[in-house]
Amino acid sequence: MKSEKITKLILLIASVIILLIFSGMAWSMVKGAIPAFGKFGFFGFIFSTEWNPTEDHEVYGAMPFIAGTLITSLLALIICFPLSFSTSLFIAEYFRKKRIAVVLGTLVDLLAGVPSIVYGLWGFYTIRPLIASLGFEGQGFGIFTSGLILAIMIIPYATSISNEIISMVPNELKEAAYSLGATRLEVITSVIIPNSRSGLVAGYILALGRALGETMAVTMLIGNANIIPKGLFSPGNSMASVIANQFGEADGLKLSALIAIGLLLFAVTALVNATGKMIIRKFA
């Protein structure tokens, strides 16, 4: 049985790779971020709203990007919810196992396959002019346009989780409600939703995690103004897109500031995803 021990050892060693990647990521980013944190202070960096890369006047603060990321992602979640929840009800409740539900499910899955940059292009050439024609400032760039595209991008994730959760609600509970004279809507509001609530919440938390880290589509639509957005249609910038945008010409303190933003983004998405997964695991 010596070979069995060796095999188990190989499996164990492979699993260590995940630990190494994870701790290596944290270590490298903390190390890279230290100059920025050292110069501006940890909280000073996070809460400062100034971003000025001019030489000798370099000041870097993450707040505009944190704000932009949070606002666009939450907006995306708000827009996504009614759409994906309706779609889940369509697929997992109203037309369950029917051909039309399979077709709809496939189309929603296709949304997940569209690369971020293609969403950006479509947003730029189709959605942005639409928003601009509504008469808002800034040629249609800004928080709302990014949030809208992000909403479309996270729909497949939110939908596929809610589909699973909704179809797990036991049939006998639905039948019990029907036998008491409930209408379909009443079955949905008083049986399906209460029985799947925590799973649905987890699904939307995971979808939020997706939105927080999306880069290209947001970069192409948010307007890339390094300010705290003043309104729904104001331009802004997000953590992911400032990294993508300004990385090319970055070195020294600026590079460190970008790495620091990357570290914050890593921490926030890790936290959000861990929470979502934890709820799902408890639910299942």
Binding site: Y178, L180, G181, A182, T183, P194
Partner: protein, 242 residues
Amino acid sequence: MIAYGKDKSAVRDVTADIKRNAITAIMGPSGCGKSTLLRAINRMHELYPNIRTEGEIELNGESIYKMSTTKLRRKIGMVFQRPNPFPTMSIYENVIAGYDLNGSKLKKDQKDAIVESSLHDVGLFDEVKDSLNKKGNFLSGGQQQRLCIARALAFKPEVILMDEPTSALDPLSTAKIEDLLVELKNQYTIILVTHNMSQAARISDNAMFMYLGELVEYDKTKKMFTNPSDSRTEGYLTGKFG
């Protein structure tokens, strides 16, 4: 006639007059269509696609197909094979669920009265009166099933359909529920699907025997068990098949 899909008919040629304030048992081997027939009475089959029905079912001379399902199901309650209290609701909320689902606006004391009387009717009140606001998941299977019966009774329906209500319970709980049914028939008309012949013999007044989707025999229970008129009924009752 009730058919699944295009041409496979599950139940056909059933004509029967169900007696008021009595327990009518529907017996037969599994797959004979007894549950299907029961579910047609409160139109539960309409929840599923591709099920066709032909014919007429009347309640007090009124066609059930002329009523809305919501209205019909308030008059005809149902209890299922496995206890299915709503896990997200307290015991109290479970009993009153029918009213809440139907959007009835009741005063607190009206609700209290309904909950208390319904739980009394199923003999559960004393056992749960201190934990009405707790979720029902700590109850035993038999208690849960009685809670489900209370939930159906809360509406004071005219008819209660029971789809093998004791098949998931232990003998002691089963005996309790059987006693309860005998008590309840003074106020309600009960239609009971059972695969358990001795249960039908113990508590039902009338019995139907179904075989391969047909109603073979419908008579007083006593008569059917002592002197069945159809050889297939006799075969089933004496254990030749089923």
